[in-house]
Amino acid sequence: MLLNIKDLTVAINGKEIIKGLNLQVNKGEVHAIMGPNGSGKSTLAAAITGRDGYEVTKGEIWYKGQNIVGLEADERANMGIFLSFQYPVEIPGVSMTNFMRTALNAQREYRGQPNIPAGEFLKLMEEKKKMVDIHAKLTKRSVNEGFSGGEKKKNEIFQMALLEPTLAILDETDSGLDIDALRTVAKGVNELRSSENGFVVITHYQRLLEYIVPDYVHVLSDGKIVKSGTKNLALDLEEKGYEWLKEEAAV
């Protein structure tokens, strides 16, 4: 099993947001997580990736056979966990190229590999840029600075393609993308899919799941997974919204 979350409780500033959540992701699987605004989807992503301030008050997060609760965020990243941010961050003055080379080399160092030779790195950049169809000039600019909403999201997928994670969490990567960009992003994800890695795709829209077909769909509500199913669940949700689930849960 790639990821096994057991009875997880997460609090921010003492306030419980995730309230006893279980989730299992096997290698080769894609899991979609849907749910109303404020239900805790991004909080879950932050807890898995080890963001400071997201306190695991109960439960365990097993990844590749190790409970990673307590590990630093950079170490988890180096172990192959990637987050495509819902709101990518701007870092003025730091070029994408420099940023990605620093990241890639940090990950290589963690794995005991030498720094990537400059020529090889540039080739890799070119290759991945094509894959997600991002404008050549973007990588010369500072990280996300002045990027449009859609460019920022594509840039996340570009970074994912370059770092080749084992577990990728995509937090609303589809929001703000035009139809063509959505297809490109999905294509990028599908090309990376393999029997060795897994994806957790957080989204509000069924449409993305037409392109990235999930093995499972989960509904997160008030910090818990209240329903799981196949991709058809996403269709039901699109049609009926979340209210019926709450009613169902109340019964």
Binding site: D52, A73, A77, F85, P88, V94, L163
Partner: protein
């Protein structure tokens, strides 16, 4: 995320320590502590100076006695006892300038540890080095290469001996000993430093570089640098400095004077890394420096680029007097303070000639409990018609217990000139750090990356070799600090 998390991370990362704090055991020749006319006669005699030099020193000393310590800077430190300092310290075995073999091996080792090679290897990187340890210039490389072009690059003492007419003509013309308290003190007791003369029409084929190191205990270092570029001359000059870790504070009061004639250009770059004191604020160098350039000729240009990472106290305002028409003055600065460091630094641009231009880019970075101030003056005289200044002063705060202050003064006395001033204050956010962490970059590296990105505009102005060194220094200075 919460302020607290921010501050915790910042704190952890910026509590790193000084890496150049070793002390070299070299036999030194010391002047007795204290400062009287006798001390000055002692220094002058040690240096076998001509009478006119001694006279200059004594005049400066007598003037210094009438002055009070300036208190206008945003700095706090205990009163300095000027009678408790050695005003002269020299490595005892005076090495011959001709052969590296004769240099004290301990000294060579010191330079190796500083990452400075005095060997002719430097030829490859096109840098000629003058090394000043404690008070005395110990080795100048590449003199012969430079001499072929008519360039003089030597220690200040040698210049006094071998080129007295040039020294007499220019010394004190840009920074007179009456200029300020520390300038008067330096003029009285200065020990050594570098002298550089670029003849008419000559572009220096090498970057010229001086490394200053304080070594002996309770020693003041007072060096003087004089650079003259004749018509059409060009030189890029680098200055680096370090000091050992000591509990007591060490005093450093330098003077740098630059003169650029018609169409001449001088680029002066500094990477200042004097010992900043420890995490508790104990020890460290007090750095009081007067640097000024005179753009005397038409279309002359002087640029100051500085990366200030060291010193417990920095008091420094490299300035340009734009006298010639169409002269250009530039000031690019990154000043980093951590722990209990205090920096009050900036520049003065005095526009006198017509159509003169100046640019000021200042990037302050504060961490820990440090204080970082920018102090600048842009003065445009009535005759300086159609002049322009652009100033940008940015401050970056790491944590919430440090301070950033800007004191820009603008004084425009004609209507055809334009002065623009921009200022920003920002913080490294927890969002940025987490974003980097999430890509596998640890917090310390992330801070280095973000800070270097922030300072890029200035770092880009440094010669390549120095830029790399400066980037590393920025990261080291902030080690143990951000969040």
């Amino acid at each position: 995320m919460s302020e607290n998390t921010d501050n915790n991370i910042l704190e952890e990362v910026t509590s790193g320590e000084y890496k150049f704090g070793f002390f070299t055991d070299i036999e030194t020749d010391l002047a007795p502590r204290g400062l009287t006319e006798d001390t000055i006669r002692f220094i002058s005699a040690k240096k076998e100076e001509p009478e006119w030099m001694l006279e200059f020193r004594l005049k400066a000393f007598r003037h210094w006695l009438t002055l009070k310590v300036p208190e206008w800077a945003h700095l706090h430190y205990p009163e300095i006892d000027y009678q408790d300092i050695h005003y002269y310290a020299a490595p005892k075995k005076r090495p011959q300038l001709n052969s590296l073999d004769e240099v004290d091996p301990e000294l060579l080792d010191t330079f190796k540890r500083l990452g400075i090679s005095l060997d002719e290897q430097k030829r490859l990187s096109n840098v000629a080095v003058d090394a000043v340890i404690d008070s005395v210039s110990v080795k100048t490389t590449f003199q012969s290469t430079l001499a072929k072009k008519g360039i003089i690059f030597c220690s200040f003492s040698d210049a006094v001996k071998n080129h007295p007419e040039l020294v007499k003509k220019y010394m004190g013309t840009v920074v007179p000993y009456t200029d300020n308290y520390y300038a008067a003190l330096n003029s009285a007791v200065f020990s050594d430093g570098s002298f550089c003369y670029i003849p008419k029409g000559v572009r220096s084929p090498l970057e010229l570089s001086t490394y200053f190191r304080i070594n002996a205990a309770n020693t003041g270092q007072f060096e003087r640098t004089l650079i003259v570029a004749e018509e059409g001359g060009y030189v890029s000059y680098l200055e680096g400095c370090t000091a050992p870790q000591r509990d007591e504070n060490q005093l450093h009061a330098a003077i740098v004077e630059i003169i650029a004639m018609d169409d001449a250009e001088v680029k002066y770059s500094t990477v200042q890394n004097w010992y900043p004191g420890d995490k508790e604020g104990k020890g460290g160098v007090y750095n009081f420096v007067t640097k000024r350039g005179l753009c005397k000729g038409q279309r002359s240009k002087i640029s100051w680029t500085q990366v200030e990472t060291g010193s417990a106290i920095t008091w420094k305002y490299p300035s340009c007097v734009l006298l010639g028409d169409h002269a250009i003055g530039e000031f690019y600065s990154v000043a980093v303070t951590n722990h209990f460091q205090q920096a009050d630094t900036g520049t003065k641009m005095i526009h006198i000639g017509k159509n003169t231009r100046s640019t000021i880019i200042s990037k302050g970075i504060s961490a820990g409990k440090s204080n970082n101030s920018y102090r600048g003056l842009v003065k445009i005289m009535p005759g300086a018609t159609n002049s322009r200044n652009f100033s940008q002063c940015d401050s970056l705060l790491l944590g919430s217990r440090c301070g950033a202050h800007t004191f820009p003064f603008i004084d425009t006395r004609n209507h055809s000139s334009i002065v623009e001033h921009e200022a920003t204050t920002s913080k490294i956010s927890e969002d940025q750090l987490f974003y980097c962490n999430q890509r596998g970059i640890d917090t310390e590296k992330a801070i280095g990356l973000i800070v270097n990105g922030y300072a890029k505009e200035v770092l880009n102005k440094l010669p390549m070799e120095f830029a790399v060194e400066a980037q590393k220094l920025l990261a080291i200075t902030l080690e143990g600090s951000v969040g």
